[in-house]
Each structure stands twice: as structure tokens, then as C-alpha cells.
Subunit: 247 residues, 2 copies
């Protein structure tokens, strides 16, 4: 059974302020909880249905540091951020801030991505394509927001998510800097790039003009229909698939 | 000013049952409302802030069929599905059901896509790549759900969204039927296809085995990192960019 103060603590982690204060974030659902427990992450607390805890004893044994609390479905629902709570929620320790910024390898740099679902989907793309780093401008959605964690599907365990002032970061990198632009070069005519920073702009305003200026490659995905643009994550996925080395 | 019954009617359109009953759906926000008013769609009602109505008189004149109601911000907020209501909401007539299913042209077929944001993003991809048809299995999210309309960014005005039993549809088509599969052929080794149905599977279970069986081409986007899969919309976008004719 969860105490009132434990429940209050877990619910508070839905807010960035309390995640920061406690250096912790929450992860929900059977699949993600198993991924987190299989990783090296420090786990503070596991709150699960009794059946779930019984069937995952081996995984839980790997984390003697974690307090395990068996709860009833209504107790889980009361602390869950999900519409349909899924058996388990855990509280994990925030990773140490990444020490070095990406250098001579593919990475994504996000300018004011505000939708948590988009941010998570983009971290998942970075994870799929084997990138180690995603850099967020300070006004992006918080990467440890529960919706970002859900959408990234475990990407946080493999991709380091930085916060950085993008113009100064980009001004320093020695790699190609790629930006999608409707007036850019046709991406189908371009060679793959061994390393690059791919800039991804805000969902409605696109990339800020100062960042667009810093791009060394402006590329365009040819449009055949009437849509004004593609979703930020979809366009990032397409550019990774077309511009990253294929083997 | 909105009457109580008008407000109740508009709010009811957030539910599929009432959209069907009234053969109408709602569209919100400055950008989308302008797109809808610029189209041939029959508009039943426009509910906007006074300032918005004054600055869009020319567009509104094109729709003498529409009842225009000037409202205060709190009245708009009371009928809006958006967290931050954006000046205007309109009620549009549902399009007539598409008469012919796609034939010999690229289209997307969605198997149980349940997240409205994903569904809208996929309609936006079809719109970007100039497709006329998206076919949804009966258990997909409803295409006229307000969240789908928002995410599709006007795609509903150019792409016909069908509901159909996918196995019987797919069994009849004479085009290539493409499915993403982790054990498929490397997509980078494939030639573009002049026409095809691209099958897109459910967000967590993937494509149902009976549909996978009907695919003539099983393709794999090579994975370099640790992610188990890509988001359904991102993978659809990548496959369109790689497999559709480039000119």
C-alpha cells in the first residue's frame, strides 16, 4: 500500500520543477518498466500490482536499491499519468548531465520542439538510427516529461539528451549542419554525410532564422501534394534515412 | 453570443456518435479555419472572436450558407477541444463517402491505428506525397476526431479517408502491397514502385498476421541503434520517401 506522502511524491514528478528538485522521474507500463529494470539505471521505487511484482521478481532482484510497493489497481490509477494505467510505475534517478557535446557523429538538434509526443518520437528516431546525442534548445518540452518518456519507448536509456543554447553550439561544431527548408536543395540529389547535426524546427514556426543562417546544407524533401509541411518528427526520420550512411 | 443548445451541439461533435448523427465535424484555429473557408466544403457554422470575424469578412462572404456567431473568449473556450483555443471554431459538413477505392496509385492502408495524433500525422504524410486515398480498418481512430483534424493540418481537404475491411480490400488490389517488417528486405536495395498500397500496422502490436501474409513486398528499414521499432507515422514517411517515384 502506498502512503499518502509517497502518492503525492510520485504525482509531483509529472511536473518538471519536482523532477529537478528530486533528481528523479517516473516511467510507466509493463514494457518500459522491464526495459528500465534491465538497464543500469538507479531505481528508487517500483509501484506495481501484486501479480506484476510476483512475475517480475528476477528483474526486481537486480535492483536491491529500489523500494517495491504492491498496490491495488485504484492506487496505481491515482498516481498514474496514463489514461489506462498498465500494471506498474517506477521512479528512476535522473542520469548525470552529459559531459561532452556531440563531435563528428550524427546528432539531432531541436529548436523549440514543444509537443512532448513529438519530442519523444524524435528521441526514438535518434535511438533507431544509433545516435548518442539529441540536443534540445532551452525552450523545448522537458525530455523527462512522462509523455516524452512514453513516446521515446526506451530511447532515454541509450540516447543522451542535452539542453544547450543552439546558436552557440552550432557556431562551434565542425561537422555539416543540415536544415530542412522548402527552398533548399532536393535531398534526393545529395550524397550521404558521414557525420552531421540535423536541425529540427518548431512545430508551427519552423526553424528560427538565426539557426537557418548557420546551416551549411539546406535540404528540401520534394512535395507532391497540397500539405504545407510535414510533421517535425516525420521530416527528421526521412532526412536521417536519406542522409545517414547506409551501412 | 452562442445559445446553450448551440454550445451543446458543438461540444457533442467531439464524439464520433454525434458527428455521425449530424453528418458534421468541427475544425479549430485560425490557420485551419482559413483553409476550410477557402475550400469548397459546406460550412454550417463559424464561431469566432469579433476581431477574427472582422478581419476575415472576405472569406466568410464565400460561405453564405454558414451561420456566423461572434463570441467572447470564454464562450469559445467553453466549446473548444483545444487547450489554448485559437480565435475560431467552425462546423463543417462531412464529405460524401469516397466512391471508388484506390486503384493503380500510391495509397496508405492503416491497420488499427489508435492514436488520433498518429492518424492525423499519417494523413498529413499522404497529403504531402500527393496521395488521394488513405484506407482505415474499421477499428482505427475516427478520422474526424478533433485531434486527427488538428494533426492532419488540412489533409482532410485533399485526401479521401475510407473505412474498409483491409483483408478483403488487399486481396483484391492488383498493385504491389508493401509492409514494413523487421525480417523484410533492406529497403535501400529496392527500386521505387510506380504504385503500391503501403500497409501500416498498429502502434504496439504491429501489422496483423493475416495482412502481413497478403503483402507482396516485405521491407525493413535498417536499424543501427537500440530502439525496437520506429513510430508508425515516421516509418510510413520514410517508406514513402524511399519507395515512391522521385519525380
Amino acid at each position: 500500500m502506498l502512503s499518502k506522502s509517497q502518492a503525492k511524491y510520485i504525482r509531483s514528478l509529472a511536473e518538471q520543477k519536482y523532477r529537478k528538485e528530486n533528481n528523479a522521474y517516473s516511467v510507466e507500463g509493463d514494457k518500459l518498466a522491464k526495459e528500465w529494470l534491465s538497464s543500469q539505471t538507479n531505481i528508487h521505487m517500483v509501484v506495481g500490482l501484486e501479480t506484476w511484482i510476483r512475475s517480475n521478481e528476477a528483474l526486481l532482484c537486480r535492483h536491491p536499491e529500489a523500494g517495491v510497493v504492491a498496490v491495488k489497481p485504484y492506487e496505481l490509477a491515482a498516481v498514474s499519468s496514463l489514461k489506462a494505467p498498465n500494471q506498474v510505475l517506477l521512479v528512476a534517478e535522473m542520469p548525470a548531465p552529459p559531459d561532452a557535446l556531440p563531435d563528428n557523429e550524427w546528432c539531432l538538434a531541436l529548436d523549440t520542439i514543444q509537443d512532448p509526443g513529438n519530442l519523444g518520437t524524435i528521441i526514438r528516431i535518434a535511438d533507431w538510427f544509433g545516435m548518442d546525442h539529441v540536443v534540445c534548445s532551452p525552450d523545448c518540452a522537458d525530455a523527462f516529461n512522462p509523455k516524452v518518456i512514453q513516446a521515446a519507448m526506451g530511447g532515454h536509456l541509450r540516447v543522451q539528451v542535452h539542453k544547450a543554447d543552439l546558436p552557440s553550439l552550432i557556431a562551434e561544431v565542425k561537422m555539416p549542419v543540415v536544415a530542412a527548408s522548402l527552398s533548399g536543395d532536393n535531398v534526393y540529389g545529395m550524397e550521404a554525410l558521414a557525420a552531421a547535426v540535423l536541425l529540427i524546427g518548431n512545430e508551427s514556426r519552423g526553424l528560427s532564422p538565426d539557426l537557418m543562417q548557420l546551416a551549411t546544407h539546406r535540404v528540401m524533401i520534394p512535395r507532391k501534394g497540397g500539405a504545407e509541411s510535414l510533421n517535425a518528427a516525420v521530416s527528421a526520420g526521412i532526412l536521417c534515412a536519406l542522409l545517414m550512411p547506409r551501412s
